[in-house]
Structures are given as structure tokens and as C-alpha cells.
Symmetry: C2
Subunit: 262 residues, 2 copies
């Protein structure tokens, strides 16, 4: 890979750790880049700058507006610019497919024929696990952003989810019974995912068996968010690592080798 120029990987800066990396959506791409051993550098952005920089490098909105939809196009991280092919790609699943195709000598993360199954996995995981995570993790993430991003983040999250979770970010996860119930829902959701990965009574280490695929990177990206935002020593994270016979703790231990931030 040494002759190649570094891929530019655009992420949102946070301060929960020394290395700024926190966003679950961009972790999907970081894991893919690290797992493939590709050469890249991270460019840290603030929320209000994402759309402008996307346009500068030619990255499309991450969601194409639907026919008849009057909402403005939605630009978001992650996106990449690959100087080796002069190509910009947005949306983590598209980026994974692009990297599989463009660098076929690296391990594929979405094996041929599994794109739709991966998309369905994302949808099912979102209902089971991501939705229950949001009322705890979104407010906690807000506290680690830089001030310019904080305003943008609060405005958008409270507009999108304030009605569902209860007004201002600070009120989404009251300590005590509310938080305990939210935490129980997360456990229940992960236990569903564990059941998918248990075939005729045998627990498989990864979604596709013994080999890491994009769905594992996807799961790990959401869990590393929890680990980094709540803290690896927090009682909640330590408890999560033990659930489902220690599956999630084991997965995150396996993933540590791909957690480097470049």
C-alpha cells in the first residue's frame, strides 16, 4: 500500500478521549479502514462545516432525497475522499462497498451477495439496539463536543427526538427508574442480536461465523460509542461486557486491534 496516497477520512471532533474519535457512524468507516490496513488520515470537522466540506470534495448527501420530498439534502459524516481514484464517497455502507471494490487485495467486509442482508441487519439492529441507546448516549455525547458543534447538535437532536424522549437533552435519561428501564431495553435488544448469532444452539463469534464482516464492524461501532462516551471503567459499560455470556466484551476485545485513530 506504500505507493498509495492516504485516503482522507472525515470525522466529527469530540473530546471524550485524547484522540477525538466518538461518533458511532464514523467508527464504522474507521474500523473498515483499519481492518483492511489501508493508509488514511482523519480530518476533524465541526458539525456546521460538514455540508460545505462535502461539497468541496464532491461527496453526495448521505441520503438521497426521495421523489416529492421537499426536505433539503442531508450531508453527514463519514465521508471519504480517495486521491488515488479522485473519488468522494459518503455513507458508511457505500464506503465499505467502495473500499471492497477498489482495494480487492484487502479483506472484503461485505461478501458478494450479502448487501441486502447487511442492509436488513442494519435495520433490525437499529430497532433492537440503536433506538434504546439514543436517550442515554445522545445527551452524553453532546457534553464532549466543541461549542460550535454543541449548538448545532442540540438544535437538531431536540428537534428530531425531543418529543419522543422528553424535551431538552438533559431530561432524556433521568437517573433512577427511567435510566434503569432504558438500560434494560438495551440489554434486551442486544440479547435479540445474540439470538440471531446463535444457530441451532451454537453461538458464533461473528455475524457470519468465524470471519469478521461489515455487520460486526457495525455492531462494534455502536458499542465503542457506549464504551468511549460512558467510559471503559463505568459500571454500565463493565456490566454490558458481561451480557450474553460475555459476547460483547469478547467482541470489543477482538476489535481493539482496529481501534487505532490515525
Amino acid at each position: 500500500m506504500s505507493q498509495l496516497q492516504k485516503i482522507q477520512f472525515y470525522d466529527i471532533a469530540g473530546n471524550c478521549t485524547d484522540d477525538h474519535a466518538w461518533s458511532p457512524n464514523t467508527w464504522k468507516t474507521r474500523y473498515a479502514l483499519n481492518y483492511k490496513g489501508l493508509s488514511y488520515r482523519t480530518i476533524w470537522l465541526e458539525y456546521p462545516d460538514i455540508e460545505r466540506v462535502c461539497k468541496e470534495v464532491g461527496a453526495k448527501p448521505s441520503q438521497e432525497p426521495k421523489e416529492g420530498d421537499s426536505a433539503p439534502p442531508y450531508y453527514s459524516c463519514p465521508f471519504i475522499y480517495d486521491p488515488n481514484t479522485n473519488t468522494a464517497v459518503s455513507d458508511s455502507a457505500r464506503i465499505a462497498r467502495y473500499l471492497d471494490k477498489t482495494y480487492p487485495e484487502t479483506p472484503a467486509v461485505i461478501p458478494p451477495g450479502t448487501d441486502a442482508l447487511h442492509a436488513a441487519f442494519e435495520s433490525a439492529f437499529a430497532s433492537a439496539v440503536i433506538m434504546p441507546l439514543l436517550p442515554i448516549l445522545l445527551p452524553a455525547s453532546h457534553t464532549y463536543l466543541n461549542p460550535r458543534s454543541q449548538d448545532h447538535y442540540r438544535r437538531n437532536r431536540e428537534r428530531e427526538l425531543g418529543e419522543l424522549f422528553g424535551g431538552k437533552l438533559e431530561d432524556w435519561s433521568s437517573p433512577g427508574p427511567v435510566r434503569e428501564e432504558q438500560w434494560r431495553a438495551i440489554r434486551e435488544g442486544l440479547s435479540k442480536v445474540n439470538a440471531w448469532m446463535t444457530v441451532d444452539g451454537h453461538e458464533k463469534p461473528y455475524v457470519m461465523g468465524n470471519q469478521v464482516c461489515y455487520a460486526d464492524l457495525f455492531v462494534a461501532a455502536w458499542l465503542v460509542w457506549v464504551k468511549r462516551i460512558l467510559g471503559p471503567q463505568s459500571s454500565e459499560w463493565v456490566e454490558l461486557e458481561t451480557w450474553d455470556g460475555g459476547r460483547w466484551g469478547k467482541l470489543m476485545k477482538d476489535m481493539e486491534q482496529y481501534e487505532v485513530v490515525l
Copy 2:
């Protein structure tokens, strides 16, 4: 296959067509048996007899009770008894895996490594499409059952879902705005599935690309339920066939060759 004895396939009798076949869950297994070209015969049961016959042939409950769960074990169709191996198997995904493993000269429906992705697909499809189908299709299915099954079916469905959908089966899908809204939700759900099957703008004919897999049989099983219960000439079915650029009509046309009831 001619030296083999016929697999016994247990299904629930209905009267919406001449051949009794209606239940979406058992259609998953019928499609798998027909797609593989295996020799089998259908044994038609009434609901109150399922548990007894399961026990007679040694088929396990389709859902293992969870630890600490006091609910009685749940026996359901489909289940099979294979006299060639003296094995009984229940639950359509388990049956598919059993058939793939026991008859490796037939086309596999769950390719190696895709079990968990298939389970996630089922979960995502259930949220997107099956839930919206229930208030229309469950009451309509009830009318085609034999009297012994009708009582059992009404009691269980109204207990499980009456609170959600509004009391007695007859009240779940009032003609007019309620039904139109339910139908719109089904369309929206199928459109999500279409999006999963559209990769970087290219629509794939089947979930895994160009080759049928269990997820396609699964989708077809739920759609053949709609086709048979509402009727292939009904305005609702005819409309559904046109959705998503005709994808669902095309799929069901492709599946007709596996729709034989033996």
C-alpha cells in the same frame, strides 16, 4: 431422490383455494421443499391437534421457553418428520438448515455463514411488512378455516393482538380510511425492503443478487398469503404487484413454479 421415502410436511388446513394451503409460516417450508425438488407429502392438521401430533412425531416446540419463563411451550406448524433419517424438525428456519445439511445435492437456501444475517432479515421484515399485514390478513384468514380451528384461532389472535388492533377480529380493518392507512403502511414497508435490495442504485432481482435464497422464500411466503387470502384478482393484490417498479409481481411470477401443493 426416487429411492427416498417422502418427507412428512405438517400444515394447517384452510379453504381459500382448492388445495388448502394458506399459512405464511408453512409456505416458507413448502417453497423450500419445492425449490429443492425433494419428495414430500402434506399432512393437513387443525389447530387444536398441532401439539399432540408434534409430540407423536417427536417435534420440539417451535420456540424454546426462555429461562424463568412460565409460559407453556409453543407448538406450531410447520414441522416435518423425515423417515429417511428418523428426524423431526420444527421452525421453518431450522427446517431449511436441516434440509440444506441433509440433502447437500439440492440447492442450499441458507448459504454458509448467512444464518445470522437471515435471522436479522426476518426480524427487520417482520417490523417493516408482517406487522402492517396482520390487521388485514389475520381476520381474513380466519374466515377460511374449518370450524374447529376457527375457535382456537380467534381465541388466540384476539388474546395476543386484540388490544393492539381493536377487540374482535371483525373490527381490525374497517373499510375506508382505516383500511387505506393499513394498506399504505404495507406499501411503505415493502418499499423499505426494496431499498435494501437496491445496491448503489442497482435493483437486484433476489435478496442475494441473482440466486434465490431463504430470505426470498420467506418474502414470497408472506406475499403468497396475501395473494391467496385476498384473491389473485382482488384490487388490493393487483395493486401490490405493481409496487416498487413491479418487483413483487415479478417475484411472485418467478415463484409460481414452486407453488405446487403436494
